[in-house]
């Protein structure tokens, strides 16, 4: 029997080539896309789940009340971790965690590794598997744990365990022993590092030790099994009041409003498994998995569209097979067997499509990974449970989408089937609704694409207030002192007509090739008010190098010896200080050092465009390190100049890699999320419109077969081709228009709320809503016309005879 089913199925499929190919094509694309998307979503959801104690581990953060509202801070002072463990009950383990690069020096190797400076309890809280050596890493102050890959980079093929290596700490080489080799950090870990070093070894340790007002690291805590995080939070109120008394006093003085429990500073716990989904918007951690579920949603949507198409097409196709089924019935086929036969046929199409879809997803995996910036791989999804789940899901999908038409077919009476007519008494509301939704989704996605493109283009072409085209920035990642390195660089590049300026600062603009981004904020009291400003340490010529515009006063100048006590501030900072004449401002910083404002800069976008311009203050103090060099080159021969800078830096720091890039590339890199979103929505809209059209095509096919006789009669009476085409297309185009009417306001609203995240944004113009409708309308028209024109052109005697 089964053999017979397969035989008939194969012959039917090969007979209706167009139908089968359309079906398999649509389903393969849908399955391919759905596989990749759901893998991404699963991967995102699996973040940090490999830690054994993940359910009892939390990240500590503080919600602080300020005059401008609540602010969250994940950075903590050095004494906090130990103090809280002693004073608040319920803690099993607590660990400080400071992320900072470690410059490794060994023989002739000089290498920057991703370092974490942590307490030894870090490895009791988190389960990073130890491959070799001490199972509880960094028990001693002078021992380090290093990952397998990093060990290979430092020691080559040599056995790394037990060897020593030197790390540059505050300009001095310190010697450490490798006591454990760790397995490489899993891709789905939000804590990443190459090397783990004892917290006390970090360069800043002596400076921050015992200080409650200097914050620079994260704290992770593992609570006792039966301790509720909420009650733990409540138990810390007295602790916070005691240790942050001064800070709280200042907040009260500046007019901060206390929270609903009457506190100015509240310790909070963020479940560690949620850290990769958390953002600290308004003082509290907001865990937002919408994007992940959105990815699932898109995957599901695409699958649904494709399956609806399949179902509609099966029904359309089955009208041609009514006679076969009538005959099978008169030969005594029970309903169950007819159902099984049709379902087998669906199953074959689905299995082929899934196979092709899998192939597609393997083919596109690499480009998918780069575009969407994920690290998925098929190995993560090869466990028996996942494969079983996948199979079950597949069966359910085929059962529904293949079973429904099969059910319809078996329900039709034998006589009616033998006559080969399918009478549709009811209006196909379900079908119409599905088509409307399909086109609504397509229009929505196209609108989204347009809005995203426009915003991306706006952000990339916006004048940021500095020269981003001709300035190269790169991290000063060698072992030389940064001021020395910059001076050597100046000497190397001197006299070259294509090199216009060389400078440096402690922060990058945009996101460089090293991928790091941070901000330093400084707070001080000015005339009895607390003021916060971004802080930037610069070298001479910084303003000239970046073509920043000075509105008042002057920049840092070698002619003035006292410039290490001078400040250059931006317009927003002037506003925040609230002074008429900015050049008369004197600011007393904490240790009674008097700084004088010497210049005012026109506001420039030193942060991403979704933030409005914040106050910034430029310092020039050789006591503070700088981390990035800037070189302005002449507009011509840009690439030659780039090589020049690269070679010069290689002579200054022979062992350090050159990670330079132009600032406009850096700015582009900050738009990675937007770009990924744009690509996702663009490809989503392409897939949606293609699948919708396949569906529409199938539907027009069905309707044309159903109305063959009507068309014939109309032609005999004298209707022309155009009017018949219009008659047939009208019903479908109406659906597209309804879809447009529903989708447009939704698109407008969604785009608007998305753009609200950007302080600097493009406007939504009416054409961005109209164009998608027009596109969808015409694509739909084209799709329908293919079949309706054909029907209208046919000789009426032929269509009338078929009855």
């Amino acid at each position: 029997m089964l053999k017979n089913y397969l035989k008939v199925a194969w012959r039917t499929l090969t007979k209706n080539k167009t139908f089968s190919l359309l079906n398999i094509f649509g389903l393969s694309i849908a399955f391919g896309a759905a596989i990749l998307l759901s893998m991404t979503a699963f991967f995102e959801l699996s973040y940090d789940s490999f830690h054994k104690h993940v359910d009892t581990v939390y990240q500590i953060y503080y919600t602080e009340q300020t005059p401008k509202g609540a602010v969250a801070s994940t950075s903590h002072p050095e004494p906090l971790a130990m103090a809280i463990k002693e004073e608040v009950p319920g803690i099993q383990n607590i660990a400080r965690h400071l992320e900072d690069d470690a410059l490794i020096l060994r023989e002739d190797i000089e290498l920057n590794l991703d370092g974490v400076w942590v307490d030894k309890s870090f490895f009791s809280i988190f389960s990073f598997p130890v491959l070799k050596g001490d199972k509880t890493p960094i028990q001693e102050k002078s021992s380090v744990a290093i990952t397998q890959d990093a060990a290979k980079r430092v020691f080559g093929e040599e056995e790394a365990l037990g060897k020593t290596l030197n790390i540059l700490v505050n300009g001095q080489e310190k010697s450490f022993k490798v006591s454990s080799i760790l397995e490489n950090i899993p891709e789905n870990s939000s804590v990443e590092f190459d090397i783990a070093i004892g917290f006390q070894n970090h360069g800043s340790y002596n400076e921050i030790k015992g200080e409650w007002d200097n914050r620079n690291h994260n704290v992770y805590v593992q609570l006792d099994k039966n301790v509720l995080p909420e009650s733990f939070e409540n138990n810390t109120v007295a602790f916070s009041k005691q240790h942050f008394a001064e800070e709280i006093e200042n907040a009260i003085r500046d007019g901060a409003v206390k929270d609903k429990n009457g506190n100015y500073k509240q310790l909070k716990l963020l479940p560690f498994k949620n850290t990769s989904f958390a953002s600290f918007g308004k003082g509290v951690a907001k865990v937002d998995k919408t994007l992940t579920y959105l990815i699932f949603g898109v995957a599901l949507l695409i699958l649904i569209i494709a399956c609806v198409n399949f179902t509609n097409m099966s029904i359309a196709g089955s009208t041609r097979r009514l006679k076969e089924f009538g005959m099978r019935k008169t030969l005594g086929a029970p309903k169950k067997q007819l159902f099984l036969q049709l379902w087998t046929e669906s199953l074959i199409v689905f299995i082929v499509s899934v196979g092709l879809g899998l192939l597609l997803s393997i083919l596109f995996l690499d480009s998918f990974k780069t575009i969407f910036n994920t690290n998925i791989s098929f190995e993560d999804f090869s466990s028996p449970q996942i494969i079983m789940g996948f199979m079950v899901m597949l069966l359910v999908i085929t059962f529904i989408s293949g079973g429904y038409p099969a059910l319809l077919m078996t329900r039709i009476g034998t006589i009616q089937a033998l006559k080969g007519k399918l009478n549709m008494e009811k209006k196909p509301h379900l079908r119409n609704a599905l088509i409307t939704i399909q086109f609504g989704i397509s229009i929505l996605l196209i609108s989204g694409t347009l809005v995203l493109w426009k915003q991306l283009d706006y952000m990339r072409s916006k004048n940021l207030g500095y020269n981003k085209e001709h300035v190269i920035s790169f991290p000063l990642n060698g072992k030389k002192n940064s001021y020395e390195a910059v001076q050597l660089l100046r000497n190397e590049l001197q006299g070259n007509p294509n090199i216009l300026n060389v400078s440096a600062s402690d922060n990058n603009l945009g996101r460089g090739k090293d991928g790091s981004a941070y901000r330093s904020v400084l707070g001080f009291d000015y005339k009895g008010r607390g003021i916060k400003t971004n802080m930037l340490v610069v070298d001479y010529d910084y303003i000239e190098t970046l073509d920043l515009k000075l509105l008042k006063g002057r920049g840092f100048d070698r002619k003035f010896a006292a410039d290490s006590l001078s400040l250059v501030i931006n317009e927003t900072m002037v506003k925040s200080l609230n002074e008429e004449n900015p050049l008369s401002i004197n600011i007393m910083m904490e240790d009674s050092v008097n700084y004088k404002v010497i210049g005012v800069l026109k506001d420039y976008h030193f942060e991403k465009l979704n933030k409005s311009i914040a106050p910034i203050t430029l310092f020039m103090n050789k006591e503070w390190d700088m981390y990035y060099a800037y070189v302005k080159v002449a507009p011509k021969n840009i690439s030659a100049s780039f090589d020049l800078v690269k070679n010069a830096y290689a002579r200054v720091e022979p062992n350090a890699p050159f990670l330079g890039s132009f600032l406009n590339e850096n700015v582009d890199r900050t738009f990675r999320r937007e770009r990924a979103l744009t690509t996702m929505i663009t490809s989503g809209s392409c897939i949606a419109i293609v699948l919708s059209c396949i569906g529409l095509f199938a539907m027009s096919l069905l309707v044309v077969t159903q109305r063959t006789k009507e068309i014939g009669i109309r032609k005999v009476i004298g209707a022309n081709i155009l009017s018949i085409t219009y008659l047939l297309a009208k019903d479908f185009l109406k659906l597209v228009v309804i879809g447009f009417l529903i989708a447009s306001p939704l698109a407008w609203w969604l785009s608007k709320s998305w753009l609200e995240d950007y302080a600097y944004r493009t406007s939504i113009s009416i054409w961005m809503l109209l164009v998608p409708g027009v596109i969808a309308f015409f694509i739909a028209l084209l799709t329908i016309s293919a079949k309706t024109l054909n029907a209208a052109l046919q000789n009426p005697t032929k269509s009338l005879r078929t009855d």
């Binding site: 017979n4 012959r11 007979k15 005594g332 006589i415």
Partner: protein, 221 residues
């Protein structure tokens, strides 16, 4: 007695009016009969044949087939009944286009769950009997109308039915082919004792039968 129809009525409601397709039909058929049903278009010939074949229901009356009361049977039992005892032959043959001659003949046996070896033997026997061994691997579209109807009859006969119902079996054939088919029916009836009920328009074909039933507007005349 093979089957008995008592006061069969069948109607449809159209525009608030009841239109009768069959009106008070009484019919007894004995085994070995060859009956021709005649009448103008729309007189209810095909409907009557479908009712006898249990493909279609009726609204009133009683139908006994081999001591079974068809009117009180569930659909599944009815299907088992006609699967077992009735073979159908159609004007437009209704062969499955995707299957070869051999496979078409095998089809009813599959639904009756015969074993593979048995099926093979029965199909080979039937191909032999109808002299179409050479055509066993051809698809219906590759045969002439007469040959297709031959296969249609072979398929109807393969499971040894007691009754063959033929709805204008020669309607799509030319006269020579039609005559051949009618001779075949006659032979089946006389030599193998198969009961046959056919619907026909042609007086000549009707004459092959042992009894003629005339219908007009759903009524026996």
């Amino acid at each position: 007695m093979l089957l008995q129809l008592n006061n069969i009525f069948k109607w449809v409601n159209s525009g608030g009016q009841r239109i009768f397709l069959l009106k008070d039909i009484n019919l007894n058929v004995n085994e070995g009969e060859f009956i021709s049903i005649m009448g103008p278009s729309g007189s209810g010939k095909s409907t009557l044949l479908n009712v006898i074949g249990m493909l279609d229901g009726f609204d009133e009356g009683e139908y006994h087939f081999l001591e079974e009361s068809v009117h009180s049977l569930k659909e599944k039992h009815r299907a088992n009944l006609y699967k077992e005892y009735i073979g159908f032959v159609f004007q437009s043959y209704h062969l499955l286009d995707e299957l070869t001659v051999k496979e078409n003949l095998e089809m009813p046996l599959l639904y009756k769950k015969f074993k593979g070896s048995e099926r093979k033997a029965m199909v080979a026997d039937m191909l032999d009997r109808f002299n179409i061994v050479g055509k066993k691997d051809l698809f219906p579209a590759q045969l002439s109308g007469g040959q297709q109807q031959l296969v249609g009859i072979a398929r109807a006969l393969i499971s040894n039915p007691k009754l063959i119902l033929a709805d204008e079996p020669t309607g799509n054939l030319n006269s020579a082919q039609g005559e051949e088919i009618m001779e075949l029916f006659k032979k089946l009836n006389e030599e193998d004792g198969v009961t046959i009920i056919q619907v026909t328009h042609s007086e000549k074909n009707a004459a092959y039968g042992s009894r003629i039933i005339n219908l007009l507007d759903g009524r026996k005349v």
